[in-house]
C-alpha cells in the first residue's frame, strides 16, 4: 500500500461528522456536547496551537445535532481575525445559520426573512421565491436576531447552539468587541466559543462571554513512557485514519509479532518504530505529529523515490521542527522554562506564560487533579533539558 503523505494535511481541522475523526483520550468534544445537552449554556474552549481545538469543536457540533440546530461558525475561514468587526462577525454567523437551515436541514424560512438576508447578501439568490414587503434596512444585529429566532421556531430541535471558532487569533481589543456581539445572542441560544490565549491561560477571573460560562481546556495527551501508551495509540489512530490504513499497520508491537515475510499487514521495516518516535516527540500535539510525518514522508519521496521514511528522514523532520521552536524563543525564555517545568507556573510572568503556552512550548498536563506545566519535548531538545536533550 502506497501512502499519500499529503492526506495528513496537518493544517486542516476535520469537519463535523468527518470519517477521519478519532476520539482523543480526554474526549473534549464529547464532554462539551454533553455539558451543553445537559443545560450548560455557555462553553469556552482553550488550548495551545495545534492541539485539536477546531476538530473537537466540530465534533461537538456533530454530537449536538439531535438536540440542537448546532451551527459551526469558523469565523477565521471568512474574515481576517485581526480586523474583524462585530458586525462582520454577526453577518458571518447569520449566513452560516441560514445556510445550515436552508441547505442542510431543509427548514422553510419565511419569504420575509429570505428577503432580509438576500438584501445583505447573506443567502444565495437560488433561495429566493419572490418579492415581499420585508424590513430591508435591518442592522446586522437585528438580522442575526431575526434569523436565530425563526430558525429555532421552525426547527425540529427548537434550540440553537452556535459553535464559534477562530477567536483565539483576535487581538484583545478586537476580541472583546466580537465577544460582546456573540453575547448579544438571545439567552436561549447556547454558545461554545474558542477563546483567545489571554482568556485560556490567564488568571481567569474575568467573564469572557456571559455569566455561567465554563472553560474546557484542550490538553495534549501524555505520550511518553507507560502512561503515554493511550496517547500514542490515539496518534497512531489519527495517522491510520488520515492515510486510510489500519492503525495496527503502524503498531510496533504488531511489527514484532508479525510472521516473517508478512509485509502487507504491517508497515515496512522500522516505520512503526519511527511513528512511535514521532508521537513521543510531538508532545501529544496532533498537528506537530502530522507535520513530522508529512515532512519525513516528503523527504523520503524526494531523496529516494521511496514510499516510506527512514530514520534519517524522521530525524531531519524533527530537526526542522526544533529549528522552528528555537526561532520563537525570546531572551529569558530558557531560564523561565527551566524554572516553570514541572510546576503550576504560578511564578511565571503572565505575558511570558501566555505566550509560551499559546505556542505550546509549555504544555499543561494533569497530574491527578493538579495542572502542571511541562516543556514540549522538542523545546527540551532545543534548550538542552533532561531526557530529550541528546535526541
Amino acid at each position: 500500500m502506497v501512502p499519500d503523505w499529503k492526506l495528513l494535511a496537518p493544517h486542516r481541522p476535520l469537519d463535523p461528522g468527518a470519517a477521519a475523526y478519532i476520539r482523543p483520550p480526554d474526549g473534549t468534544g464529547e464532554r462539551v456536547a454533553k455539558w451543553i445537552a445537559a443545560g450548560g449554556s455557555t462553553v469556552l474552549l482553550g488550548g495551545p496551537v495545534g492541539v485539536g481545538k477546531s476538530t473537537e469543536l466540530a465534533h461537538a457540533a456533530s454530537q449536538l445535532q439531535a438536540t440542537h440546530v448546532a451551527c459551526l461558525v469558523p469565523l477565521d475561514r471568512f474574515a481576517n481575525m485581526r480586523k474583524i468587526t462585530a458586525d462582520e462577525a454577526r453577518s458571518v454567523i447569520t449566513a452560516r445559520v441560514a445556510d445550515l437551515a436552508l441547505r442542510v436541514l431543509g427548514i422553510d424560512l419565511s419569504d420575509d426573512l429570505r428577503e432580509v438576508l438576500r438584501a445583505r447578501n447573506l443567502v444565495d439568490a437560488r433561495w429566493m421565491r419572490g418579492t415581499t414587503w420585508a424590513l430591508r434596512e435591518a442592522s446586522p444585529e437585528i438580522v442575526l436576531d431575526l434569523t436565530l429566532r425563526e430558525v429555532a421556531r421552525l426547527s425540529r430541535q427548537r434550540r440553537i447552539c452556535l459553535l464559534v471558532d477562530g477567536l483565539e487569533k483576535c487581538p484583545e481589543a478586537v476580541g472583546r468587541e466580537v465577544f460582546d456581539a456573540i453575547a448579544g445572542a438571545p439567552d436561549d441560544v447556547d454558545l461554545a466559543v474558542v477563546v483567545p490565549w489571554y482568556a485560556a491561560f490567564g488568571p481567569g477571573s474575568d467573564q469572557v462571554v456571559r455569566s455561567g460560562e465554563k472553560l474546557f481546556s484542550v490538553r495534549p495527551p501524555a505520550v511518553s513512557g507507560a502512561e503515554g501508551r493511550v496517547g500514542r495509540d490515539f496518534l497512531r489512530g489519527v495517522l491510520g485514519r488520515r492515510l486510510g490504513m489500519a492503525p495496527e499497520f503502524f503498531d510496533a508491537t504488531t511489527l514484532i509479532d508479525a510472521p516473517p515475510g508478512v509485509t502487507d499487514v504491517v508497515a515496512p521495516g522500522p516505520v512503526a518504530l519511527l511513528v512511535e518516535r514521532a508521537s513521543e516527540q510531538s508532545g501529544g500535539c496532533v498537528r506537530t505529529f502530522l507535520q513530522i510525518l508529512a515532512d519525513a514522508g516528503s523527504y523520503a519521496r524526494l531523496r529516494r523515490d521511496a514510499d516510506w521514511p527512514d530514520e534519517a528522514d524522521i530525524e531531519d523532520a524533527l530537526a526542522d521542527q526544533r529549528d522552528s521552536f528555537r526561532r520563537i524563543l525570546l531572551p529569558g525564555d530558557r531560564d523561565a522554562i527551566l524554572e516553570a517545568d514541572g510546576t503550576s507556573g504560578m511564578e511565571l510572568a503572565l505575558d511570558r506564560k501566555i505566550r509560551l503556552m499559546a505556542h505550546g512550548v509549555l504544555l499543561e498536563r494533569l497530574h491527578g487533579r493538579d495542572a502542571v506545566l511541562e516543556a514540549h519535548p522538542l523545546a527540551r531538545a532545543v534548550l538542552g533539558m533532561g531526557e530529550a536533550a541528546n535526541e
Binding site: 495551545p48 495545534g50 477565521d76 483565539e168 498537528r287 516528503s298 524526494l302 526561532r327 520563537i328
Partner: protein
Amino acid sequence: MSDPAEALWNAIHCGAPVVVVLYADLGLAEAAVAEVDSLGDPAWSSRRVSSVAEALTRHANELVLLVPTNEAESIADLEGGRDLFVDRVAPVVLFLVRGGDGERALREAPSLASWIRGSIVDPEELSRIDAVAEREKFLRQTAMTPEAWLEAHGGGELISTEDLGRTYRARLLER
C-alpha cells in the same frame, strides 16, 4: 538537518499553505525569490506580491512569492487571516530578512508559527555544509555523482518534481 535545496523543496511541496524563507540582507532577496521560483511544480505559475491582501487575490494553484513591504504587518495579517489560505494547492512563500521585524513578530504570532513549524527555511544557514560528505550522500541516494546526474537529467527533458530538487542539489555540489 537537510540541505538547503531539500529543505526548500520539501517546504514548498509538502502541502503547507504558507512557508517562510529567510534571507540575510536586502541585496539577497531577488536571489532567494528566484531560487524558490525555480523549485516550483512545473504545473504551477508563479506571482510575486508585496502584501497579504494581494496574496489573497491569487489563485490557489499559483505559487505566491510574498516579499512584504512591511514584514511585521504581514505577519500580523497572516496571524489573523491564516485560515483564509487553507485551501491553497501551491503555497504562499513569505520572504523575511533573517532577524528582521518579521521574524521577531513571529514570536508573538502563535497561530501562524504553528502552521509553518518545520517549514521555516534559512537556505544560507543550511548551506554551511561539508561538501565532501554531501557529495557522498548524493552518490548513496542516487547512485550517481552530481556531474553524472546533471548529464543525465540536465538536458531539458521533462522531469518529475522530485527530480527538480535533486537537479538543484547536483548543481550546488558539482565540481
